[in-house]
C-alpha cells in the first residue's frame, strides 16, 4: 500500500499544453466582448474600444505563437518524452489546435475593421 504514486508527465501541464490555443481564444473572446459591452454602456469613444480590441488581439496572438513556432520547447515544460511517438502526437495535436485558434482570434479581432462598434442594427 502506498499513499500516492508519482506520475511521469505532468497531467495538468499536458492538458494545458494541448488546450492552450483554445484557452487563449476563449479568454480573448471574453475579454473583447465584455470590454466592448462595458465601454458601449459607458458611451466611450469608439477609438478607445478599437484600441482595446487591437491590444487584446495582439496579446492573444503573441500567447498562441510559441506553440506554433516551437511546440517541442513548450512541450518540454510538461515533461513530455521527446522521442516517444505518443509525445509527437500530443505535440502535433497541440500545434494544430493553436493554428485553429490563431485563425479564430484573428477572425474575431478583424471584425472591428468592418463594423461600427456600438451601433444597433435594428
Amino acid at each position: 500500500m502506498v499513499r500516492s504514486v508519482r506520475q511521469n508527465s505532468s497531467t495538468l501541464g499536458t492538458m494545458i499544453f494541448i488546450l492552450w490555443g483554445v484557452i487563449v481564444w476563449f479568454l480573448h473572446l471574453s475579454a473583447i466582448y465584455l470590454a466592448h459591452t462595458l465601454l458601449c454602456a459607458l458611451e466611450t469613444r469608439p477609438t478607445l474600444i478599437m484600441t482595446v480590441i487591437v491590444w487584446a488581439t495582439v496579446v492573444a496572438l503573441a500567447a498562441i505563437a510559441p506553440i506554433i513556432i516551437a511546440p517541442q520547447r513548450v512541450a518540454n515544460l510538461t515533461r513530455l518524452p521527446r522521442s516517444n511517438a505518443d509525445g509527437h502526437h500530443v505535440v502535433s495535436i497541440a500545434r494544430f489546435v493553436a493554428v485553429l485558434s490563431l485563425v479564430a482570434v484573428l477572425w474575431s479581432g478583424a471584425t472591428m475593421v468592418f463594423v461600427d462598434s456600438c451601433e444597433l442594427l435594428r
Binding site: V2, S4, Q7, V22, Y33
Partner: protein, 849 residues
C-alpha cells in the same frame, strides 16, 4: 514497438482452474426484481439507452400530432394552449430526456468495453444518475396528460415564463424537473471524465485513446462547463416565480435578456454536446467499414477540441435580434463561422477514409446511416453558416427556416449516427444482430421521410411562416408545403416503427453471444474482444490505436487470461487505474457491487424536486432528508478497509489497492465537481455584472445608507478562516489506524459550526442593513450570493458530519483518509467562493460607484 514486443503477454502460461468462474460469480448482475440494484455498466447502460429511446418515441408522437395539426390550414385538431404544450414538451423531451441521456448512456455502455475496463470507476453514481433520470423524466413527461405541461417553449424565455404571464405550476415543472435531470447529467459527466482518463488499459496513452473516448471526454467536459449556466438560470427563475426576487423584471432593475444569456450559454454548446459523441461514433464506424485507420486521426482530435471550445463562443448568435451592439454581434458571427472549420475537418477526414478504404467501402445498414448523416449534416451545417450571418438571421429569425436548420443539424448530427450505432454495436450486446434487410428499409424510410418533412420547411420559412404557430389561414400559401412536410414526418415515423419492431423481435441482451458475433465487422478496437459480464477475461496490454488489427492473436491471449488482471486478487469487483498521459498501471480500484442505497437516494431526490414543484414543502423536505441519509449509507461502504496491500496484476507489476491524492479517482471526481461549482459561480458573477451594466441605478451609490456594512463581512471572513483552519489541522492530526482522536472530532465539529455561522452572519448582516431580496435586482443578487454560499456550505457540513462519523467509528485515520481528502478539497473551494462573494457584494458597489 517491435513485433516481439507486440506478441509479448504479461501473464503467459495456463491460468489456474476456477479463475474465470470466480470472475463470473463476482460480476454476475442480480436477477429478477433485484435487477433494480444492478450497477454493471452493461445492465444499466442498456436500461439507460432503452428509456432514452422510449422518450424519443414519445416525443416523436408529439411531433406527429403537431404535424397533423399543421397539415391543413385553419385546423382545430388540438387547441392553441395544448399545441403550446406540445411543442414545449417535444423540444424539451428531445433535448433533455432523449439526446443528452442517450449519448451518456452510450458512454456508460461502450466506454468500459472500448477501454477494456471491468466497469466505470463509480458504478453506483452511474446507476444513481440513471434512476434519477428515469423517475424524474417519466413524471415530467406525464404532465402532458393532465394539462400541467409547460408551454413556454423549450427555452422558456422570460418574461413569458414569469408568474405574471405563466401562472400555475406548468413552468415550475420545467424548471425543477429539468434542473433535477441536469444534476443527473452532471453526475454522468463526472463518471465519464474520470472513467475515460483513469480506467484505460495499460499501454493506452492519451495518443492511443479511441476517437469515441476523446469525443466523450470533450462531451463530458462541455457538460461540466455548460450545464451550470442553465442550472443557475433555472434557480433564478424559480426563485423569482416563487419568492419574487426580481432577476428578470425590468421594472426593478432585472432584465429578461439575462435568461437568454444563461440559457444559450448552455443551449448552444448543447448542440455540440449532442453532436460530438455522435461524430465519435461515426469515426469508429467509418474506420471499421473502410478496414483502415482514420485518415487524419490527430486532426479529428483537433477538430473535436476546437468544436468543443468554439461552441462556447456562439451563444449570442441565438440573440442577434435582441438589440446587442453591432460589433458584439460580429464577434459571435465570426465565431459561428469559425466553428465550421473543425466540423469541416471531420467531414473531409471521413470522406477521405471512405475513399481510401482498404477494399471496397462496405455498404451495410450502419454505413447507410453514416452516409445519410453526412448528407443531412452537411446541409444543416451550410444553413448554419447562413444563419450565422447577421443580416440573414434578421430575416429568418423565428421562422420555419430555423426549424428546418436545427432539425437537419440535430437529426442529421445525432439521430442518424445513433441508428448507425444501434445496428453496428448490437452484436456486442445481443445474441442476435438486427436484420440487415429490414435495416435498409428503415434507413430508406427515415432518410427519404426526413428530407420530405424538413427540406420544404426552408421554403415555408422563407415564405414567412413563423415558428410555434398553432394554425394558419389558407390564403398565405403555406398549405401545400405543410402537407408535404406532414407526409414526410409520417414516412420518417414509419421507419422508426419498423426499427422498433425489429428491435423487439431480435434484441436479446447478452454479453456472451455466439462466436460469429464476436467481431462481425472485423473492427480494430477493444470493445470487439471476447467478453462476458466481467468485460474481458484479462485486460490487454495495448500498443496501438487499433489493437485488434495491429496485435495478432490479441483476442485469444485476452480470452485465455494472459494479459493483466485475469483474476480478482482482492476477491471483489475491481479494475486497473492507469496514468492519464502514458497509460501506466497505477493502482487497483475496488468497485462496489449491487446495492439499494443509491436507488433510494435517486427516488427520494426525485420526489423532493417534484413535490417542491407542487409546493408540498413539508413532505418534500422529508423526502430530501431520506435522500441524504441514503447517500450517507451509499458512500459509507465506498471507502473500504485498506487491508489488501499491493497485488500482482501480471507482468511482474504490483500495484496498491488504496491510494489518496492526485492519483486517486476520488480526488479527480471531487476536482471535477469543483469545476462544476466554479462554472456555476462564474455564471452568477456574469449575472451580477450584466445586471449592473443594464441597471446601475439600483446599485447603492457611494455614501448611501444601502451600502452593506463591512463589519459583517469581516466577521464572516473570520469564521470562514477559522472553519478551514480547523479542518486543515484536523487533517494533519489524524492518528494512526485503529486510534480515535478527540481533538480531531472537536476540530471537525468546530469547522462545521464556523462554516454554518459564516453564512448565517452574512445573511443577517444583509438583513440588518435593511436590504430585502424583493427590493430590486441588486438586493436579489446579494441574497443569491448567500444562497450559493449556503449551498456549498451545506455540502461541506454534511461531509464534515460524514468524516466525523467515520473517525468516531475508526474508519478515518492518517492512512485511510479519502473522506478527509474530499471534504478538505470542497471546503477549500467553498471558502474561496464565500470570500470572493464578500469581495463582490461588499467591494464592487464601492468601486463601481
Amino acid at each position: 514497438m517491435s513485433d516481439t514486443d507486440r506478441s509479448a503477454v504479461p501473464n503467459p502460461g495456463p491460468r489456474p482452474d476456477g479463475e474465470e468462474e470466480a470472475l463470473l460469480k463476482i460480476w454476475a448482475p442480480p436477477t429478477g426484481w433485484r435487477i433494480i440494484s444492478a450497477v454493471n455498466n452493461t445492465t444499466i447502460g442498456i436500461a439507460y439507452l432503452g428509456i432514452a429511446f422510449l422518450f424519443f418515441l414519445m416525443a416523436g408522437v408529439l411531433a406527429l400530432i403537431m404535424r397533423t395539426q399543421l397539415a391543413v390550414p385553419d385546423n382545430d385538431l388540438v387547441s392553441q394552449s395544448f399545441y403550446n404544450q406540445l411543442f414545449t414538451m417535444h423540444g424539451t423531451t428531445m433535448m433533455f430526456l432523449f439526446a443528452v441521456p442517450a449519448v451518456e448512456a452510450l458512454g456508460v455502455l461502450l466506454l468500459p468495453q472500448m477501454l477494456s475496463a471491468r466497469d466505470l470507476p463509480f458504478p453506483r453514481l452511474s446507476a444513481f444518475a440513471i434512476w434519477a433520470y428515469i423517475i424524474g423524466g417519466l413524471v415530467f413527461f406525464s404532465t402532458i396528460f393532465y394539462d400541467l405541461a409547460p408551454s413556454g417553449g423549450w427555452f422558456m424565455y422570460t418574461p413569458l415564463t414569469l408568474k405574471e404571464f405563466s401562472p400555475g405550476d406548468n413552468a415550475d415543472f420545467w424548471l425543477l424537473g429539468i434542473g433535477f435531470i441536469e444534476i443527473s447529467a452532471i453526475a454522468g459527466a463526472v463518471e465519464i471524465v474520470v472513467g475515460t482518463l483513469k480506467t484505460k488499459p495499460p499501454g493506452m496513452s492519451l495518443a492511443k485513446l479511441p476517437i469515441f473516448a476523446w469525443a466523450m471526454l470533450i462531451f463530458a467536459a462541455m457538460i461540466i462547463f455548460a450545464f451550470p449556466a442553465v442550472i443557475l438560470g433555472t434557480m433564478l427563475l424559480e426563485i423569482e416565480r416563487s419568492f419574487g426576487w426580481p432577476f428578470f423584471t425590468a421594472a426593478k432593475g432585472g432584465d429578461p435578456l439575462l435568461w437568454q444569456h444563461l440559457f444559450w450559454f448552455f443551449g448552444h454548446p448543447e448542440v455540440y454536446i449532442i453532436f460530438l459523441p455522435a461524430a465519435g461514433l461515426v469515426s469508429m464506424i467509418v474506420s471499421a467499414m473502410a478496414q483502415r485507420p482514420l485518415i487524419g486521426h490527430d486532426l479529428i482530435v483537433v477538430a473535436l477540441i476546437g468544436t468543443g471550445f468554439f461552441s462556447f463562443g456562439l451563444w449570442v448568435h441565438h440573440m442577434f435580434t435582441t438589440g446587442i451592439p453591432s460589433l458584439s454581434l460580429a464577434f459571435f458571427s465570426a465565431a459561428s463561422m469559425a466553428v465550421a472549420v473543425p466540423s469541416g475537418i471531420q467531414v473531409f477526414s471521413w470522406i477521405a477514409t471512405i475513399a481510401a478504404s482498404e477494399k471496397r467501402f462496405r455498404i451495410t445498414t450502419p454505413s447507410l446511416f453514416v452516409l445519410g448523416f453526412l448528407f443531412i449534416f452537411v446541409v444543416g451545417g451550410l444553413t448554419g453558416i447562413m444563419v450565422a450571418l447577421v443580416p440573414i438571421d434578421f430575416q429568418v429569425h423565428d421562422t420555419y427556416f430555423v426549424v428546418a436548420h436545427l432539425h437537419y443539424v440535430l437529426i442529421g448530427g445525432m439521430v442518424f449516427p445513433l441508428f448507425a450505432t444501434f445496428y453496428y454495436w448490437t452484436p456486442m450486446l445481443s445474441r442476435n444482430m438486427l436484420s440487415e434487410r429490414v435495416g435498409r428499409w428503415v434507413f430508406g424510410l427515415m432518410f427519404v421521410g426526413f428530407n420530405v418533412a424538413f427540406f420544404p420547411m426552408h421554403i415555408t420559412g422563407l415564405a414567412g411562416m413563423p415558428r410555434r404557430i398553432w394554425t394558419y389561414p389558407a390564403e398565405l400559401g403555406w398549405d401545400a408545403l405543410n402537407m408535404v412536410s406532414t407526409i414526410g414526418a409520417y414516412m420518417f415515423a414509419a421507419g422508426v416503427l419498423l426499427f422498433t419492431i425489429d428491435l423487439v423481435r431480435r434484441f436479446r441482451p447478452s454479453m456472451s453471444g455466439p462466436d460469429e458475433l464476436e467481431n462481425p465487422w472485423d473492427a480494430g478496437t477493444l470493445e470487439w474482444l471476447p467478453s462476458d459480464v466481467y468485460s474481458t477475461r484479462s485486460i490487454p496490454l495495448v500498443s496501438s490505436r487499433d489493437p485488434l488489427w495491429d496485435q495478432p492473436g490479441l483476442a485469444d491471449t485476452v480470452r485465455s487470461g494472459q494479459h493483466f488482471l485475469p483474476d480478482a486478487p482482492t476477491g471483489g469487483r475491481e479494475t486497473i487505474v492507469t496514468s492519464v498521459i502514458e497509460g501506466k498501471p497505477e493502482y487497483l480500484i475496488r468497485l462496489p457491487g449491487p446495492g439499494y442505497a443509491h436507488v433510494v437516494a435517486a427516488v427520494f431526490m426525485a420526489a423532493f424536486f417534484l413535490l417542491l414543484t407542487i409546493k408540498a414543502v413539508t413532505i418534500a423536505i422529508a423526502c430530501g432528508i431520506i435522500s441524504i441519509i441514503a447517500c450517507f449509507v451509499w458512500t459509507w461502504e465506498l471507502d473500504q478497509q485498506p487491508d489488501k496491500g499491493n497485488v500482482d496484476i501480471g507482468g511482474g507489476i504490483k500495484v496498491p489497492t488504496y491510494v489518496t491524492g492526485p492519483v486517486s479517482h476520488a480526488w479527480w471526481a471531487v476536482m471535477v465537481l469543483i469545476l462544476v461549482a466554479v462554472s456555476l459561480y462564474l455564471s452568477f458573477i456574469f449575472s451580477y455584472l450584466y445586471l449592473w451594466i443594464v441597471s446601475p441605478e439600483v446599485w447603492p451609490a457611494a455614501g448611501s445608507a444601502d451600502m452593506l456594512d463591512v463589519s459583517f463581512s469581516m466577521a464572516t471572513t473570520a469564521l470562514v478562516v477559522a472553519g478551514i483552519t480547523s479542518l486543515i489541522i484536523a487533517g494533519r492530526r489524524l492518528p494512526d489506524p485503529g486510534q480515535i482522536s478527540a481533538l480531531v472530532l472537536v476540530l471537525l465539529a468546530i469547522s462545521a459550526v464556523c462554516f454554518s455561522a459564516a453564512v448565517a452572519v452574512n445573511v443577517w448582516g444583509h438583513w440588518q442593513t435593511g436590504l430585502r431580496p424583493t427590493d430590486n435586482a441588486h438586493s436579489a443578487l446579494v441574497y443569491m450570493a448567500s444562497v450559493l454560499d449556503a449551498q456549498a456550505t451545506v455540502v461541506v457540513v454534511l461531509l464534515l458530519g460524514h468524516a466525523f462519523a467515520r473517525h468516531a467509528t475508526g474508519k478515518l485515520d492518517n492512512f485511510r483518509s479519502v473522506a478527509m481528502q474530499n471534504v478538505t478539497l470542497l471546503a477549500i473551494y467553498a471558502s474561496g467562493q464565500i470570500l470572493f462573494g464578500l469581495l463582490l457584494v461588499y467591494g464592487f458597489p464601492r468601486v463601481a460607484s
